[in-house]
Structure formats: C-alpha cells, structure tokens
C-alpha cells in the first residue's frame, strides 16, 4: 500500500484468457494434438490502475465484454492478474454470486451458517449476526423451512441478507440491486448507504447508471480493457450514454447502408440485363413494341384527361432507393431514378447530427420533351408530425425545364432534434399533376449531445446578469 488511506490499490493489471476452440484436458488429446494450437488468447484487461480510498464507493461501467466484470473477479481473487498488482486492506465480501453453497434440503437457518462460513465467518461470528440476518431478510416465519420451499424472491432475500451482514471492510457488488420487490430493493439500497457512511468501501459493477449515481463518488468507464474516463458519475455517465447511443445508431446506419447497396446492385444488374435483351431484339420487333407502348400511353393520357382526379399507380414495384414501405403514385411522365441522403462530401448516410446539413441528391428522367415541373420534399417525424415541406415553386416561382435525364441537389439546413424522420419527395407538373410522388422515400435519424427539447432547435442565447450562457458550452466537471 502506497497510501494508508487507500482500501484498494490496483496497479496496471493485465489479464489474458485462453479461448479454447476444442479444449482437450485428457491425456490422449494432449499427446495427439500437442502441436495444434487449440486456443486463441484474448487480452481482456490491457492495463488498468485505480485507487479506492477507505469509505469511498466507486462504480465500474462499460458495455458487455469490456472487462468490468473481469476486474471485479480479479478483486475478489477468483482470477489473478497476469501482470500488475492488486492490494486490498481489510475483509472482503462479494455480492457476486449470492447464495453460494445453499442446499435446497436444508433449512434457511442452516443455510445461513453454510453460506456465511464461505465468507470466512466463524461459528461465533455467525451466531452474533444471526438475528440481524433473519430480521433483514424478513423471513422470520419461514426460517426453519427447507430452502427449496422458498420462492426465488425469498431465496435471494436470504442470500443478500447474509452477504450484506458479513461486516466487510470492502464490498464488491455485481449487478445485484435487482433483488426482491421494490420495497426490499429500497431497503438494500438504504443499507448500502448506511454501510458506506460507516466507512465500508464499495465497488459496484452495474448497467444501472442511476443506482451508481445514487451511491458512488466516482465512476470508471472501462472500454476495451482500459479506463476510458473517470470522474463524477453523472458527468461520466452523460458522455457514456451519448457514446453508447452513437454506437447503436451507427450500427443501425451500417445495416441500412448495406441493405441499400445490395438493392442498388440488384437494380443495376436488372437494368443491364434489360439493355442486353433490348440489344438482341430486331428492328421490326422494336418498332412493334414502341407502337404498342405509345398506344398504351395515349390511352392512359386520355383517361387522365377525362378524369384528372385519377392518378394511377404507374409502378407497383417500389424502386430500390426507397424504403420498403414507400407509397408511389403519379403519371410517370417524369420519374425519380435515384434519391440519396448524403453529407456534404457525398457519402451516403442515415444519421445526422442536429445542426449538420443534409444533402438530398436526386436523379430523375423525363419521358417527354419540353416538360416543365416542380420539385419538392417534405419531412415527417416518425409519429406523423409534419415538420417541414417546400418545393421549387414556393422557393422561387420559376418552373424547372425537365431534362431527359437530370440531377438535383437539395441542401437542407437541419435543425431537427433527435428522432426518426421520414422524407417524402415529389415531382409535379406546374398545373399540379403528379408526375412522381413518393411517400417515405427515405428515413433518417438525428442525434444530439445536448438535451434541449421540442421538434427543432431554435438557436437561443441566454444572457443573465450580464453573463452569456451559450448552448453547447456546458460544464463537465473534472475530467
């Protein structure tokens, strides 16, 4: 111990595990497969150091497999570090595996003795604590019944009561505050706080950040076997949550991009094939088909002219660039051939930060010469709220001279707060005839580190007593 005020000193611990592909611990296997490398080594902890003062409570957080539970198991001495040292001062009790050694046929009282003895208590010490343990567990009426007759809640209550009454100097806890009903949880919590006040050092591993905030003085955020950040729980947790959310949505985005790529490739393949077929056809055949198509087109135009309310579904099939549940209507005189959401460099993406510009890149085709049109888009939140909508006619009152094959880029200044959104796109005639109108062309998400609320960010500046408080400049406390 470098410092006598410390209860735990962890110095640069490293731990590797052998992941056996096919574990052979029998003689035959050992001899026969001696040369074959049957395991891979995985470094779970890559050098972690921290000190815990006497009476301090710390929390270890991190996503699954980051090494936080391994750290706790090293502290309990179930595992030993490959490198580095762990020093601890005082009796250690762990609430990792509750009810170790419980025997179902023995009574609650007998099991208290067995279980407490595994924590290293002598018979006398257990006698002294017996009343407290039974009282805390609230199992007075059942304590002489065999444990197998207990409900799982009762079982856990008994186990927890033993572990917490060991009177340890250091308490190691792994995700256990989910014991029993709400009342009992409250009680466990109060007991933990009481122990802390009395000077017990506590180390908690938990996914419940709220619980850590309530008890701990410091949080250590472990990632990939290293401490990424430590400090006041609330502030560390805020950044941890943000990072977690970010990771999650990046994963969603990756999947969506992959799906989009696959569909684009399929569409291209199909187009190529059709082109090849087309090339094979004879002149006469081509002329015949062209005539047939023109006749069909004329009939359709006539029908629309007679009753302009009818706008038929010109394509039942949803094009590759749209969401699967998109709805497409229009005459098809002009049509979208590709729609992409990208950042300013043209990389396709689906998740944008609030305040990050969205670039909507569109490709279209017009099947008639001299067609004039209006291009527009609309944004809806997932719950259906219409957030925004505009088109070229609203913006400038000048119609677009549609090209045989053209392109458009719409830069959208995005202030939308974190949520899922739908984007609709529309290509109309100047008289309002729908050429191509797609509902839910795209979905996207927005993400933000700030906690402002509403639909869209309306930039605000607070000046209070002459001091300006700017958005995004929050105090994060000590790092």
């Amino acid at each position: 111990m470098d410092n006598s005020n410390n209860a735990i000193e962890v110095k640069n611990i490293k731990k590797k595990f052998k992941i056996f592909i096919d574990k052979g611990s029998e003689l035959k296997e050992r001899i026969l497969f001696k040369e074959r490398k049957q395991y891979e080594e995985r470094e779970v902890l890559k050098g972690i150091s921290f000190d815990v003062k006497k009476g301090e409570a710390i929390g270890l957080i991190g996503h699954n497999g980051c090494g936080k539970s391994t750290t706790l198991k090293l502290l309990t001495r179930i595992y030993y570090p490959d490198e580095g040292t762990i020093e601890m001062d005082g009796r250690v009790s762990s609430l990792i595996e509750l009810g170790a050694g419980f025997h179902p046929d023995m009574s609650g009282r007998e099991n208290i003795y067995t279980n407490a003895s595994i924590f290293g208590l002598s018979h006398k010490e257990i006698d002294e604590r017996l009343e407290d343990i039974i009282e805390f567990s609230e199992l007075e009426d059942f304590i002489d019944n065999p444990v197998r007759t207990y409900s799982s809640g009762m079982y856990m209550r008994l186990a927890f009561s033993v572990a917490i009454n060991v009177d340890a100097d250091i308490l190691l806890i792994d995700e256990i505050l989910a014991v029993g009903d709400a009342n009992f949880q409250r009680k466990c919590f109060d007991r933990l706080r009481e122990l802390k006040r009395k000077g017990t050092t506590i180390v908690i591993v938990s996914h419940s950040l709220g619980q850590i905030e309530q008890i701990c003085d410091t949080t250590y955020w472990i990632e990939d076997g290293l401490i990424k950040e430590s400090g006041i729980p609330r502030f560390v947790h805020e950044r941890y949550m943000y990072e977690m959310e970010r990771k999650r949505i990046l994963q969603v985005e990756k999947e969506q991009l992959r799906r989009q790529q696959r569909r684009r490739a399929e569409a291209e393949k199909k187009e190529e094939e059709e082109a090849r077929k087309e090339a094979k056809k004879s002149e006469r055949q081509k002329a015949k088909e062209e005539a047939k198509r023109q006749k069909e087109e004329e009939e359709r135009q006539k029908a629309i002219a007679e009753n302009p309310e009818i706008v038929d579904n010109f394509k039942k099939e949803i094009p590759f660039f749209c969401e699967q549940d998109a709805i497409r209507v229009g005459t098809g005189e002009a049509e979208f051939t590709d729609v992409k959401l990208t950042d300013k460099d043209g990389n396709e993406k689906y998740i944008f930060d609030t305040d990050e510009d969205i670039y909507l890149r569109i490709k279209y085709k017009a099947h008639k010469e001299g067609l004039k049109g209006v291009l527009g888009f609309g944004v809806f939140r997932q719950d259906g709220l219409h957030c925004y909508g505009t088109n070229t006619a609203i913006e400038s009152n000048q119609p677009i001279d549609l090209q045989k094959s053209g392109e458009a880029v719409i830069r959208i200044k995005n202030n939308l707060l974190p949520a899922y959104y739908y984007l609709d796109t529309a290509l109309h005639g100047i008289d309002g005839v729908k050429y191509d109108d797609i509902v839910r062309t795209k979905t996207f998400m927005t993400a933000s580190f700030l906690h402002d609320i509403g639909i869209s960010r309306i930039k605000s500046t607070f000046t209070v007593d002459g001091k300006t408080y700017k958005m995004g400049e929050q105090e994060h406390g000590e790092q």
Binding site: E26, R30, T76, I78, S94, A100, S117, I118, G120, S122
Partner: protein, 257 residues
C-alpha cells in the same frame, strides 16, 4: 505459506460445514442411511476374510481381526486420495464464482473421510474386545498413528487435487495406483520373505502405519517408533509439497474449470 495457514484457520467454519454436509449427504435418501458407513467396511471385511481364510489360507490366527484393524485405515487412505483428487473439480460452481482459500476443499474432503474412519473405529474396538484380545496401554499411541496417516493422506490429496484440475486423467490414474498400492502394503497378507517384495514394502511409507495399527490393536504392543518416524517424515514432506504445489497451481483454477 504461513499466511495461507492463517487464512485456512479463519475459514474453519466452512471446513466444519463441508464435512458435516458430506457426512450427512453421503448416504442421503438410502434406506440404511448413515448405517452404510458401517455396513460397507463390514462387507468388505467379510469378503476378504472368506477369501483369505477358506480360499487362500493365510494361516493367521483370528484373520478377520488381523485384517479389520488394517483395512479400515487403508480405506480411509485410499478414499481420501482417490476422492480428494477430484474435490476441486467437484466444487466447480463454488470455485468459479466465489473466493475462499481453495485448500479448504481437499482438507474438508480428507477430514470427512477421517471422521468416517474414527466412527468405524468404534466397531473395531467392540470387535477387539469381543475377540478377547483386550485393550492395552499401547492404545495411547493410536492418536499419533491417526495423525501421521491424516497428514500423509492430506498432503497427497492436496497435490493430486491441484493436478487433476489441469489434467483430468489424473483422477483415473489415481484409482489404478491405489488399487495396486494395497498389494504393496501389508494389509491383506504379511510381508513376504522374497527380497524384492520385502524391500518395496519397507520403502512404502504406508507399511509402518498399517503395522502400527496392528501392533496396537491386534498384538497389543507399542509400535516401532523408528519406522513411524520414517512415515512421519515422508508425510510431512508430502504435506509441504502438496501445499506448495497447490499454492502455485490454485491461481488459475477458476479459468481452467
């Protein structure tokens, strides 16, 4: 090592609990229950007595008693080592989930076998009296012999339990070794006159222990203290070797299991 001993003493309640659980749980659910503790060795005694009196005449007077006083200690020794070597593996759930000095497990196992033997000694005493051999002053040496045998059994159980964690075949190998070992020890028959056999039986640290039991209970004389000291030396050697090896190997138990 001193620290380990101190810690084990702190965990004595756990050892006591494990022993109790083992003794109570061993024949749980069977009709005769705890009586099996006595029935088992009695039947073994019956079989060996029939074999060595009627089939292979040993020519030993009151052979059943001669055998009985040696067979019970041998069963303790043999079951301690064979069962003790699997004691860590058998408690996998505890070892991988909670901390306690791992030495507790083989100690508890050997101790429970030991207690079992002591209980069977009640029957030995009764048999000795019924056979008309009488209890002699030399009986005061009996606890010394018990302790020497306990130390030897514990040391070996420790050593092999740690090995078995890493090398599972050890469990079966120990079973075979102990089956052979009984014929290198004067349990079923006297030390033969053939030089080679005599030499082996003399080196064997279990021989003086078995002979000591026979001296005390069958012949009613004091055992040879020189020969017993040899066994004690051997027992202490294995005891420290066992603890030392165990201490080195226990660090990776949780990962291996």
């Amino acid at each position: 090592m001193f620290k380990t001993f101190k810690e084990i003493i702190n965990y004595r309640e756990m050892i006591i609990n494990l022993v109790k659980k083992d003794l109570r749980g061993r024949y749980k659910g069977s009709v005769f229950g705890f009586l099996w503790t006595f029935i088992n060795p009695l039947f073994q005694l019956l079989i060996y007595t029939l074999a060595f009196t009627y089939i292979l005449d040993s020519g030993i007077e009151q052979y059943y008693l001669w055998l009985f006083v040696a067979l019970i200690p041998w069963i303790f020794f043999s079951s301690s080592i064979v069962g003790g070597s699997t004691s860590i593996r058998a408690s996998k759930d505890l070892v991988t989930k909670i901390y306690f000095p791992r030495e507790v497990l083989p100690i508890a196992y050997v101790t429970s076998c030991f207690v079992n033997m002591l209980l069977t000694f009640i029957i030995i005493f009764i048999t000795v009296i019924i056979a008309g051999r009488g209890i002699h002053l030399s009986i005061c040496m009996l606890p010394v012999v018990w302790i020497i045998e306990y130390i030897l059994a514990l040391g070996m159980a420790m050593f092999f339990s740690a090995i078995t964690v890493y090398f599972r075949d050890m469990e079966h190998i120990m079973g075979i070794i102990l089956q052979g070992w009984i014929y290198l020890t004067p349990v079923l028959f006297q030390i033969p006159d053939k030089a080679v056999a005599k030499a082996i039986m003399t080196i064997n640290p279990m021989s003086p222990i078995i002979l000591a039991y026979r001296d005390i209970l069958y012949d009613g004389v004091f055992p040879s203290s020189e020969r017993l000291l040899y066994s004690l030396g051997f027992a202490l050697f294995f005891f420290f070797l066992g603890f030392f090896a165990f201490g080195r190997l226990k660090r990776h138990f949780a990962e291996e299991l």
